[in-house]
Symmetry: C2
Subunit: 311 residues, 2 copies
């Protein structure tokens, strides 16, 4: 289905459940609530089905009407695979009518699909869809779309950002989206717990291979002492790679069951996926992961050995 056909479908039908992926982020929530607001603007019934919205995203619900209706159509946004719907939404598996996404690896089962891997965020696709549907992009809709685009691009910093991404953001700013508030909440705010975690993690920083590899770690004991949840761990993996001269940045996170979850980020032409495949993992050329069993010392030693062999 192309965007024109999706636009037609949405206008011709009614009573929409719109699905996000589990552990929802700014893009899946922004896409779903923008689409919900648009459908309600057309006089349709629509609701977003999601789980545990982090409180910083609650402004995305502004202007959304609570409607009671029997589901007739199911749309998913930013959901790359059936499994990513999570256990709460597993009853929707195989029943999605339209899947809208930007992940090139999308394998979700759906009657119709629109996947644009060149879009920096699914919200970029939704923006174009809403224009085609002749929706008035209100401030609330603009806030939803800007949230998805800015969070999926690290505020226009990541390599997925295109000239088109910048132009969509410019239009949303013209339409009155509150970039000041959104940028502040998304990119300029850290919880006290996160600061404490960063402090603790900085203390674990270690270098090997003449400073070309940097390693940090968290242990279950550290997290317990700091009383920190898994949602604060976001972004930690980018710390070691940021350091000047570092080609391999490794983050080790101890998990229940005496193993470590390893995130590897690389610079230059070092392949992170190759690195992780040594330990049965994989991923992308610059970002990959694996799990390694053992205690801190043993696992770290294995990683250092692998890094020194590669570098």
């Amino acid at each position: 289905m192309n965007l024109y056909e999706i636009s037609r479908y949405l206008k011709d039908n009614d009573n929409y459940d719109i699905l996000t992926h589990a552990y929802p982020d700014g893009d899946t929530l922004g896409s779903s609530f923008a689409l919900c607001l648009a459908l309600q603007q057309l006089g349709k019934n629509a609701r977003v089905i999601t789980t545990n919205i982090p409180s910083k995203f609650l402004y995305l619900l502004n202007g959304v009407k609570q409607q009671i209706f029997n589901t007739e159509n199911i749309i998913s946004t930013d959901v790359a695979a059936d499994s990513l719907l999570g256990s709460n939404m597993s009853k929707y598996i195989g029943k999605v009518d339209i899947c809208i996404d930007h992940h090139s690896t999308n394998t979700l089962n759906a009657k119709y699909k629109f996947v644009d891997k060149y879009a920096a965020a699914t919200c970029e696709i939704i923006y174009k869809l809403l224009l085609r549907m002749n929706i008035k992009i209100t401030e609330n809709i603009a806030n939803c779309l800007y949230t998805g685009i800015s969070t999926d691009t690290g505020c226009f910093r990541f390599t997925n950002t295109t000239a088109d991404t910048m132009r969509v953001a410019a239009s949303l700013m013209d339409l009155g989206c509150n970039t000041e508030y959104i940028n502040k909440v998304m990119f300029e705010t850290k919880s006290k717990e996160k600061i404490e975690l960063e402090r603790a993690v900085y203390d674990t920083m270690d270098y090997c291979a003449d400073g070309k590899c940097a390693i940090i770690y968290t242990t279950l004991e550290m997290l317990k002492k700091l009383d920190i949840g898994d949602d604060e761990m976001e972004g930690l993996a980018s710390i070691p790679r940021q350091i000047e001269g570092v080609l391999i940045g490794i983050t080790m996170r101890e998990k229940e069951g005496s193993f470590f979850k390893i995130s590897v980020r690389t610079n230059g032409n070092i392949n992170a996926s190759d690195f992780c495949s040594r330990f049965g993992g994989g991923g992308h050329p610059a970002a990959a992961g694996c799990n390694i069993e053992g205690d801190l010392k043993t696992v770290k030693q294995k990683l250092i050995k692998a890094a020194e062999e590669i570098l």
Copy 2:
């Protein structure tokens, strides 16, 4: 002078010295080198006069020809006051022909001036000037302009970013600027020394006024131990304000002469300039500074007292 008149002037004259401000940043360097490349493209003689270019900015010199000539015209970019030319360039004071800037507070003495306080960066103005001059925006020029715009907006995160800023950036991306390299170097790279400094500064983090005020500090001893220069201090002041719930974020930096240089950043409607005026300083509503004499304990106690009175 409007941009049309500046364009005429630049085409009608020759032999340009282009001045940056002292301790040059991405915007003043990007503006100056972009203008230099443009003038050389027109067959003019031009050179950039600056001091100590940080090595991460050296790519801005790509394509710039070294030319020997007698100065006839002097242009300044992004220089808000005569004093900001620094001691090296003080001989130019009072001799500037055209001053191009975006600081609303501009007081530089110049024959002609163009100051647009709505431009997020001086590079945004230079982009519009070059279009008016019919300059072909090469990859090198685009890299210069993108560098100034992205660094002065914190990569499109700060409140000075407008829809226009985004559109200029989009055009520069169309013209082939290397955002991947520039964003990586400017926003994703920290020196090992900077990491060590952050680690040390995190250890000084203290809260008062029920967590609504956060204070960090550096001492001369810390800097000596870490062997860290002043250029690594950039960005420290934004750390305490980032913390959730903090309305006043204070950074204390011990200086030679037994005093502390204080940076205050505020959230909400707390006025940083009012805060600093208690100590003979001043600044903007959300970012201000002052100097306070005394040892660490005394100065910190004074700041805590002031914060608790205000909050």
